[in-house]
Amino acid sequence: MEAYLVRLPYYFYLVTLLFIFITGISFFLIASDNYIFNFFNYSNAIFFTFFQAAVATFFSSILGFLFSLILYLSGKSERLVSAFLNFCFILPVIFVSFGIIFFYSSNGVLSKILSLFSLDYDFKIFSFTGIIYVTSYFNIAFNANFFFRKLVNLPENYIKILKSNNITFWTALRLQIRGYLFQGYRSIVILTLIFCTSNFTILYLLSGSPRLVTIELSIYQSIIFNADLYSGITLGIIQLILMLFLSSLIMFNQNYDQSFNFNKSSNTRFPKNILISMAFYAIVFYFLIPFLILIKGLFNFNAQLFLSMGFLNSIFNSLKISSLSVSLSVFISLSALFTYRSFLEKNSKLQKFTFLSITILLFIPSLTLSSVIFYLNFNLNFIFSNFLIVSVINSFFITPIVFVFLSSKFIENYFYESKQCIILNISPFIRLIKIDIPKIKNELVLIISAVFVLSLGDLTSITIFNDSSFRTIPLFISQLYNNYKYDDAFFILSLFIISLFFIMYLPSKFLNRNAYIR
């Protein structure tokens, strides 16, 4: 009975998801007589979605790998490097996009520096270049973190043996380490491709050309401008099918998550190398480029705006939404992990269903999901408040991330633990509270802070579900932008990023204070 109680949030989630799917499908069936969907009108968008994602994935993989090697060989604090890469990965898209524009635009920092040397500057950070640059920015950080964590887990003795045998690290990398580094990498490539496919905001801000349209942009146009929910849902289903096809490679490969954790701190030291040091600072500079916009933002300090009710109200709403979203996603994830593990223990094939039921949310375009929920709420005579809907939608998108991040640690030693629990007559609830949660405490704290930040920066569902008293910080920034107040928008954006930094930083301080380093 207790086991069912622990599984209840997951079952509740399944029912909600089912309800939303039924709503989408029923609309699809009812409305099909009134709408015409011409697949060929969207073939270009479908092709471009996966083409740009493939190119961005290619650059992310290559550069992520190279960056990780340099970061590793630099010998800098691995926790710091890893936290930095994590932070870059979860930065809000609008921040990175505006930061890149601020640096590379015709009046930007780079142009001004070059003009000091009387050099011409005619680089354009828009269209395909901009899309690939910004999409890759996040995914280079993601890929570099994967390889970096693998590298720091190389045993110290192994490095010592290499040294004592006069084998260079590069030779070992070519002959031996490469195989270890790329073990389980297929899953990371697929995840990268999925992230690169879902880059709606980047396309919206940087495409700069009417030809560069993705499936998500077409969904946006269909729903927001053409009132064509039918095409929006159809395109969402097409994206879902294509993504599921790609993700099927992950689902049968359970190594997807091994790289998220440090197994052991190696503290390996390599001899100082000036080239590695220079490359290290170049990489740090590359990742810090968007942060230069903070200077512009803070120079435009506006006390009146900072103390305005609109701003304070937006902060309050953002915090409320993120708190509820994160709470919901943690409950669902823990419950789903518990269910997933119990299926593993029984060697049941339902484990794959559990995994799919959670990760499927990664593949559904946010706008399609938001629109179906809007349609559902409309049919229910708008019984759900905007706050609840936005929180639930946000929680749906962060739940797979929490689930995947925690899964390897959660199921660690599951077979042995399961036997011990039976022998010692430990109930499922006690197992979750007294064994599982303490075991994953560190990962839980880290992922909660990360998804809290992700949820704070979301600007998708709130554009549909808002009213005069319900705005979030990203919407507040967007409204400043729409009212010619670009400098004020950069000021608020800067404050926002600084707060995100503290939200990410405080949990790691907490973990360090507890000196719980595995």
């Binding site: 930007g108 354009k124 828009f126 942009l217 927001i224 932008y481």
Partner: protein
């Protein structure tokens, strides 16, 4: 004490104090802290003994899309901010109620039984006079000066983008595709939204940007920067009129009518020039002289209320010029 009497006494003050609600659907920037919405709300609530409740959508196009999808089952009373290009489509979808608001002494010609105009503007291109010393004076000159780079907005996503498509079709009619083709090489960015395109222009990405004749007024009056100017095209400028109407399924039609009447008063209109950065529909030259000086009105083209098919045709003309 009698229980019924006690209940009545307890409820009485709340019944008296309970205010009627007027639910308005508008676009986000109208009701932002810097838009005219909050001041208009104060003015109207001071005379109506009611609560004005705002709901917002992304843009003018998104407003119509939303009420089309829901048939206004959300129960909004007034839709505020519809672009004149969408009026015919809105009427064809049978979403609005006729009203009999008297529209006297307007600055524009207006005769529509479904909609009341509340502001208007002219599409234009904005340039920085310190960078472009001899601005083009006509579309032909603009297209012939290949050195001038332009940012426009995608007409499928943006109201000003659609406005430019309308403007070019008004000027060139059957030769619109040819003109678009001539202009294409100079268009370096086609942004999805006005704010992104305008922001990129301010970052120096182009020489001119599609916006409104009123944009320089913002820079001049708020930032004290008079370098930004609007092109003055000899062919004339396409006009954009923003309107409001009473939605079917409105829960408070009388209050909605009162609001529409109020929208034509000075107490509403005075918040438009430096709140929404558009021209008010009643002449406020005396009280808002600095605004009119900073945003002089250009030669106007005729008003157009396109059907859905005409609008599609404008977009097709633009798409045809893009080539394969």
């Amino acid at each position: 004490m009698n229980l019924k009497l006690l209940t009545v006494l307890l409820l009485f003050p709340f019944q008296v104090l309970a205010k009627e609600e007027l639910k308005i659907l508008t676009y986000g920037s109208f009701n932002s802290d810097w838009g005219p919405g909050p001041n208009i709300e104060k003015e109207f609530e001071s005379i109506c003994n009611c609560d004005l409740v705002w709901n917002t959508a992304d843009s003018s196009g998104a407003l119509l899309s939303r009420v089309k999808l829901t048939k206004n089952n959300e129960g909004f009373d007034v839709l505020l901010g519809l672009d004149d290009s969408l009026i015919t489509e809105a009427i064809e979808n049978d979403l609005f109620l006729e009203h009999k608001i008297k529209e006297f002494n307007l600055d524009i010609d207006w005769n529509n039984k479904f909609f009341t105009p509340f502001d208007y503007g002219y599409f234009s291109f904005i340039y920085d006079q310190t960078k472009l010393s001899t601005p083009p004076r006509s579309f032909d000159e603009l297209a012939s000066r290949n050195e001038i780079s332009i940012i426009i907005m995608d007409p499928r996503y943006s109201t000003p983008g659609l406005g430019l498509a309308k403007w070019i079709n008004q000027v060139y009619q059957n030769d619109a595709i040819e003109f678009w083709k001539n202009l294409q090489d100079q268009i370096i960015i086609t942004s999805k939204s006005w704010s992104d395109g305008y922001g990129l222009f301010l970052e120096g990405e182009s020489d001119i940007v599609l916006s409104y004749t009123t944009s320089p007024a913002y820079h001049s009056l708020i930032e004290g920067n008079s370098n930004y100017k609007s092109l003055n095209m000899t062919e004339g400028h396409a006009v954009q009129i923003e309107v409001m109407g009473i939605l079917k399924n409105a829960s408070n039609i009388e209050l909605a009518r009162t609001f529409l009447e109020f929208s034509l008063s000075e107490n509403f209109q005075k918040h438009i020039p430096q709140g929404n950065w558009m021209y008010p529909v009643i002449n406020l030259q005396n009280s808002q002289n600095e605004f009119y000086s900073a945003a002089p009105k250009p030669k106007s083209l005729d008003q157009v209320f396109p059907s859905f098919a005409q609008k599609e045709n404008w977009i097709l003309n633009w798409e045809a010029s893009l080539g394969e």
